[in-house]
Amino acid sequence: MTDSPHATTADREIVITRTIDARRELVFEAFTDVRHLSRWWGPNGFTTTTRAFAFREGGVWDFVMHGPDGTDYPSWIAWHEITPPERIALIHGESAHDPDAFESILTFADHGETTEITMRTVFPTAALRDRAIEEHHAVEGGRQTLDSLAAYVAGQEGPN
């Protein structure tokens, strides 16, 4: 480990680990092409419209996520570091000049037929963290709308 533990980052860092049932090359590929990303990136019920896409270090993905309640979420991702098929460092924001963008580092561990993805996100300041709070609240709001709809539809179908 090159990173020494920083006691002060623990409360503004989120680490999410997930095993994907596919080989590492395939999983990594799903992050590299907008044709793939558009199939899984948007939360359930969201669609995405891409304005620009260039998967390379220094490249960006400029897109809009359309929520199920009709709300649009401008989104902007810049790739900092790309090491196929092991590691991607990216910045999330609303636009190219979003002062409140924050960074995530995704690592892909090869487990044969499966791949373990670890995503480490550090919010550098309270201000950046607050922006993330607002955004994810908004997305969460859209998601809840959809959950309510799904529950309603399930209820209409009756027991099966």
């Binding site: 999410i16 994907i20 596919a22 996100t121 997305v139 969460e140 998601r143």
Partner: protein, 112 residues
């Protein structure tokens, strides 16, 4: 969008370690100011100041019991904190669910 001041934002309020200590103690049950002073070893004026901030963002509530004022946790202020911490993770877990489903589709060679 203007940044919320310390006194109007639960996230800023809990960024202060002594205020988190107060909330920790209150998790175990309601306390009078002097009890908090005794348990935390923080001077009374500081405790009172922290409690004022925590009240303003609805992290604690107060009731009068005779001459004493008793403080307790107020869930209203904590809810956005929970929602935020859960929301970000939930969003990504859902996204990884979608990725996993999409991978299975690709492995089956689904036409597109």
């Amino acid at each position: 969008m203007a940044r919320a001041a310390t006194t109007s934002d639960a996230f800023n309020a809990i960024a202060e370690p002594q205020r988190r200590d107060i909330l920790d103690v209150l998790r175990a049950g309601d306390r009078a100011v002097l009890e908090l002073v005794g348990e935390l070893g923080i001077a009374q004026p500081s405790v009172s100041k922290h409690l004022k901030v925590l009240r303003e963002v609805h992290l604690v509530h107060v009731r009068d019991a005779g001459r004493r004022r008793i403080y307790g946790l107020d869930a209203r202020g904590l809810q956005p904190v929970h929602e935020w911490a859960g929301g970000f993770e939930e969003l990504w877990n859902e996204r990884f669910d979608s990725l996993n489903a999409y991978m299975q589709e690709l492995k089956r060679g689904a036409p597109r």
